[in-house]
């Protein structure tokens, strides 16, 4: 299985679908307009790409449209206009390749109530076409890293929220497909698990996986993300590396002390000055 992975390390290989070459787009969103109602779309002409080996952070206020973007990428919603390509195909063109090419970790852990953590890992491994021995080895390795070894044979109803979240992450990282979509991965995790998760995501990225990571915890994104996409009211209001985002927020980069939090706040206020009262800084 690792042989099928372009430049995979044993720890992060195992793609069911071959990973795109480093730098090739694993996710392409072109002019996406969509939402629940055609009359009132949530997203307006969204375009961005996530290349193989790249981590892109999706940030925005509550209701900005991050989850709607993710739902479109997962094929749970159909675009009103535009298209979403994963590993070069749309869901309509090649459903199987599309599904094999992405794994998703939702914000709320959604484990199957009848399956233990180990059984979830088995389900994921065979769904993504991983070999049994290798999948078992990596599952044990991840369980140790996330301190979940004792919980491998537990049913979800006996796990805490943080442990459920770790189990979801383990499944996605085990699958290690070309595109990992991770929604608010840090909520509910303890500090050691956050560190393990970020290390695992880094390894997956180095191995060629593209990562789309939605989070409100901007310092973590600032350190790890290659690029950021800032959404506000269903539109992209800024995009680029964290430094580029700061420059976009601060004009010509005069404010060297500006954090990503500051930049994000400025960008949102520029897009919607009425929010100034809510921000508490006027």
């Amino acid at each position: 299985m690792t042989a099928r992975h372009g430049n995979g390390t044993p720890a992060a290989g195992g793609h069911a679908a071959p990973a795109p070459d480093q730098g090739a787009p694993a996710l392409e969103i072109r002019h996406l307009t969509g939402g629940y109602s055609r009359k009132k779309p949530v997203l307006h002409d969204i375009s961005f790409t996530v290349k193989a080996g790249e981590m892109v952070g999706l940030i925005g206020l509550n209701g900005a449209g991050k989850s709607t973007v993710i739902r479109h990428v997962l094929g749970l919603m159909t675009p009103h206009a535009g298209e979403v390509r994963v590993a070069g195909v749309t869901l309509r063109e090649d459903r199987e390749r599309y599904r094999q090419s992405c794994a998703y970790v939702p914000e709320q852990p959604l484990l199957l109530p009848h399956l233990t953590v180990r059984e979830h890992l088995r389900l994921t491994a065979s769904a993504y076409g991983l070999e049994r021995q290798e999948a078992a080895r990596r599952a044990e390795e991840m369980a140790a890293a996330f301190r979940m070894t004792e919980a491998l044979d537990a049913l979800p109803d006996t796990l805490s929220k943080g442990m459920k979240q770790k189990a979801m992450l383990m499944c996605a990282l085990l699958a290690a497909p070309p595109l990992l979509i991770v929604d608010e991965p840090l909520l509910g995790l303890d500090p050691l698990a956050i560190r393990s998760l970020m290390e695992m995501l880094d390894r997956a990225r180095r191995a060629g996986s593209a990562i789309l990571l939605s989070s409100h915890i901007l310092p973590a994104l600032e350190r790890r993300a290659d690029r950021l996409v800032v959404l506000h009211r269903g539109r992209i209001i800024a995009g680029g590396t964290p430094e580029e985002i700061k420059r976009q927020a601060g004009g010509d980069g005069a404010d060297r002390e500006m954090t990503l939090d500051d930049a994000f706040e400025r960008l949102v206020l520029q897009a919607e000055p009425d929010l100034a009262g809510e921000s508490g800084r006027g």
Partner: protein, 453 residues
Amino acid sequence: MAERSDRPAVTGGAERASLGRSGAAAFPGGGGTPGDGGTGPEDLLRQLWRSRANAFRAEVAPYFRYVAQSGFGLLVTALLLAAAIQYTLWLNEFPPDVPLGLYGAAWLWLAAVWAPMRTYLQEADTVFLLPMERAALNVYIRPLLVRAAAGGAIRALGAFALLAPLYVRAPHTLATAAGRPLWLLAAAFAAIGAWNAWGAWRERQTIEALPRMLLRLARYGATIAAAWGLLNAPLAPALAFAALAAWLVTALGRLPRRQVLPWERLIREEARARLRWQRFLSWFVDIPLEGWRPARRRWAAWAGDRLPWDRRHMWHYLYAKTFVRGETFGAWLRWHAVIGLLMLVFRASLADWALLVIGVLVGGVQLHELRRIRFPPLIVTLPLPEEDVRRQAAARVAQAAGAAGTLFLWLVSVLPGLRPWAWPDAALPAACLLWSLWLVPRRLAKRRTDDEE
């Protein structure tokens, strides 16, 4: 306990929020805070139980239409009629070899020890009602205890009212019954029923599991001994014994550590009570089971792990695990156990054959429930095989379970030495296998309109 809360008192608005969907009606006018216009915490708590009870009734009432449509009412009526006829026959002539003194004690014990208490407490109450724990105990729980005690007394009285006419006629108890006033027995059993409700509350308050279990055993033991004594032993010592046993168990209940108000236990108990109702209703209509937890069943769940490790069998894997750890499998197992037991009891060819056919037919109907298994919508984001494979997987799991059930019942029916072998012992299993291996899976594998989600 008392694990008093250090939380700051919540505002009236937060208390309103705590009531959730069923409690909102407890605040008429939608306005006042606890100190506003006479709607203090006590007033609100008083209304809370009533509003939650009403909300629960309103929630389950619509489903009884389906219960009625299913013929369940007819079945219950038929059973009641049969019981009434049998009771009348017993009134005319009670079998002389039946030890009614013993059976009567068991009957009264069953009526007395069951001490349910619907609190309608919810998870959110540990956040919003906890700061008013004292008021909750006095205003919310205490009336429920009185109600539970009254319920226990009425149940015990009802059971005794049914037993008494037989008690004074049955050959075994005729002489004993003649020497004691029935009103006194009725009063004693009512007191025992009420005392059981109080004892059950003490058990709920007990923190550690072992003392709680021992207290329950002591209560059960005291109740059965008192009931037997009151029906069979000389009256005065029996009354004295019952009073002494009740006092002793009550005194024992003071020894272990207790919580004043065992919030979490009451919430769990309430969730189980809701689940029981939902389980009952789910026999007739497809309703979600809140608070339901899967069973581990390691002894059976391993079978799913024997499936081949490839994508084509992922739905098989999911269905196998879900079925084995779910409700249907439990019902299916119990059904086969009951049929097997009846076969062993009857040990007659005709009965075995009838039971085999009924057992396999009903077992197959139960397996149709596999069609109703629903997975979370996000499962579609996994690269699982297509929908046709999914239905085939459900059919294969039903096929395996049906074959195992048929084999089990057939083996029990032909257990060597119980009865002579006859040709239906070969023909009937073949017909049963046709049902289990072909007809049931075929129906499960068929696409239906309600499969499209």
